[in-house]
């Protein structure tokens, strides 16, 4: 396991007290905390070389452009991209997916075609495809989710068929923690000529991810969930597809030449980056990648697997009062544990845990169809782990959950 206590020292926020109690941050699937090195990178940028990129002849602009593009190279390498021109900077995973929906998909998905997704998607990898299917008169189909919370692949060979133009699926569920067999599904999709988009919002921060190995056509992720700043993320697009794509947003930076009548497009990936980018954010994400690479993504994943196993074991004590969601096989899941109880609503659990300094999330986790229609509850409580979480924190979670249960179902005062 990682030395989480030592790692914690790199995260200033984790030294804070909440209501006088040490912060136990278990809401990492929503957003992660940031190490000093990332925060300092932002300060260094704004105090040292802030300047617009790509067009300046002065010292500041040269430096900001160089660091901005170095960050791109670093991030591209981190996800195994063959080149940095395959990595488009976007605001977040959501924008990355919308970019694909509005460019490649709009041009390639037609009347009668099928888009295949899964029952466990985040709204960001569902609503854009609902909209696209409506606009192009295509059909949106779903890979079902088993009761255990894994993809039900029993009918996959009919779900992925010659009408399938795109398979859009999450690498790891933000509710169940399930890690999906995206490489196999990509191979199946390619066999029928379909493209594949991977929502990697939960995987790039937590697992080794290699787009070349996965062979996917598109992969989107968010900086804020992987120790980096808010407002930045990446969309990887495979070269052959990228070269065919028409621009999405237009304006400064993404053009080659402009006349009053029309414009020609700039080289890749700038063609997809209109206007002044989130320069500080990109360089900050580069620093986050440095931090994660120094730990090693295999170690990050292993740490979270161990914490999750520990948590699932510890939570067994509560198995009578709580339902726990997601695969039982630890090899098939990441560091996310969702649960609910008929005795205490997740929202009330959230408040009680908050008073103990423990931050979890309660709700539908932007996956309403999965939570409401498939799990059959209006909300779950969710604890999600990262590199700085410890088994002691899990112990505190379990103890406080017990207190909450007692508070709600038996006596009326907390111990």
């Amino acid at each position: 396991m990682l030395d989480a206590a030592k790692i914690k020292q790199d995260f200033p926020i984790l030294a804070k007290l909440v209501y006088g109690k040490p912060l136990v941050y278990l809401d990492n699937a929503a957003t992660s905390q940031k190490p000093s090195s990332v925060i300092q990178t932002l300060v260094d940028y704004y105090e040292g070389y802030n300047s617009n990129v790509h067009r300046g002849v002065h010292a500041l602009s040269m430096e900001s452009t160089q660091r901005y593009e170095e960050a791109r190279e670093k991030i591209a390498r981190f996800i195994g991209s063959p080149g940095s021109e395959n990595l488009i900077y976007v605001r977040n995973t959501t924008e990355g997916i919308n970019l694909v929906a509005n460019t490649w998909a709009r041009a390639n998905v037609n009347d009668g075609d099928e888009i295949l997704t899964t029952e466990m998607e985040h709204h960001s990898n569902l609503v854009p495809w609902q909209q696209l299917a409506k606009a192009r008169n295509a059909t949106l189909r779903f890979i079902p989710v088993t009761d255990e919370g894994t993809l039900d692949l029993s009918n996959i060979d009919s779900l992925i068929n010659h009408r399938t133009k795109l398979v859009a699926m999450t690498h790891m569920s933000n509710v169940l923690g399930t890690i999906n067999p995206v490489k196999d599904l990509t191979a199946k999709a390619h066999a029928v000529g379909a493209h594949v988009l991977i929502d990697a919002a939960q995987s790039v921060p937590h697992l080794p991810v290699d787009v070349t190995h996965l062979d996917c056509d598109f992969l989107a992720f968010s900086s804020h969930k992987m120790l980096g700043p808010t407002g930045i993320g990446g969309l990887y697009v495979k070269s052959d597809t990228l070269e065919q794509m028409e621009p999405f947003l237009t304006g400064g930076e993404m053009v080659q030449e402009v006349t009053f009548e029309g414009a020609t497009w700039n080289d890749l990936p700038m063609r997809f980056e209109a206007g002044t980018p989130n320069i500080a954010g990109s360089i900050g994400l580069g620093a986050a990648v440095d931090y994660l690479e120094a730990l090693g993504m295999e170690n990050v994943h292993q740490h979270e697997t161990e914490i999750t196993q520990y948590a699932l074991q510890a939570l067994k004590e509560l198995a009578e009062e709580f339902t726990f969601y997601g695969p039982t096989d630890p090899a098939r899941r990441g560091g996310i544990v969702s649960f609910s109880s008929p005795h205490v609503h997740p929202h009330d659990l959230g408040t009680i845990l908050d008073q103990a300094g423990i931050a979890i999330r309660a709700g539908h986790h932007c996956a309403m169809p999965l939570v409401r229609d498939r799990l059959g509850v209006a909300a779950t409580a969710r604890a999600s782990f990262y590199i700085y979480n410890t088994t002691e924190e899990v112990d505190l979670l379990v103890t406080t959950l017990k207190d909450a249960l007692r508070y709600f179902s038996k006596s009326l005062s907390l111990p």
Binding site: D348, Q355, L412
Partner: protein
């Protein structure tokens, strides 16, 4: 971070609240209600369905709710049903307004306190700003239902 003061869970989860949560009053559905509406909080998924029937004098004769949600939203809905019965629609709206004021921190007069019954127990929610919208959800649902009803009878 701003200094966060520990609030008192016992103020939030007063016995009255937990009782309404565990034993909701007027829980269920009214067939063909005169006024009906659904409230939904997109951020947490809480949901309240409210139905009510009016008598010949336009007073609320019967009322029922059902839904899903946290103790606060469900208890508040239960409290609502106990308070609005036999009230006119404007009187029900006044109660809704009173709760907003209570939760905004206003001190209520003795006269007002008399009217609000168990609603007073929702005062503890003030210390938990994020839960204020839970307490208001059923009342906002009521307001919506009344507005709909009015626009339907006088189009």
């Amino acid at each position: 971070m701003q200094e966060m003061h520990p609030a008192h869970l016992d103020d939030l989860y007063q016995e009255v609240i937990l009782d309404h949560y565990r034993n909701p009053r007027n829980h269920g559905e009214i067939p063909n209600p005169h006024v009906s509406s659904r409230g939904f909080n997109p951020f947490c998924g809480d949901e309240v369905f409210l139905g009510l029937n009016l008598d010949a004098n336009q007073k609320i004769e019967s009322v029922a709710f059902h839904g899903q949600g946290c103790s606060i939203s469900q208890a508040s809905a239960s409290i609502l049903t106990t308070l609005v019965k036999n009230k006119s629609l404007p009187e029900a709206e006044d109660l809704s307004q009173l709760l907003r004021e209570l939760l905004r921190g206003k001190e209520l007069s003795d006269d007002e306190l008399d009217q609000i019954g168990d609603m007073e127990a929702l005062q503890g929610v003030r210390q938990f700003p994020i839960r204020v919208k839970c307490a208001l959800l059923p009342w906002a649902t009521l307001d919506d239902g009344i507005a709909d009803y009015r626009s339907n009878i006088s189009p």
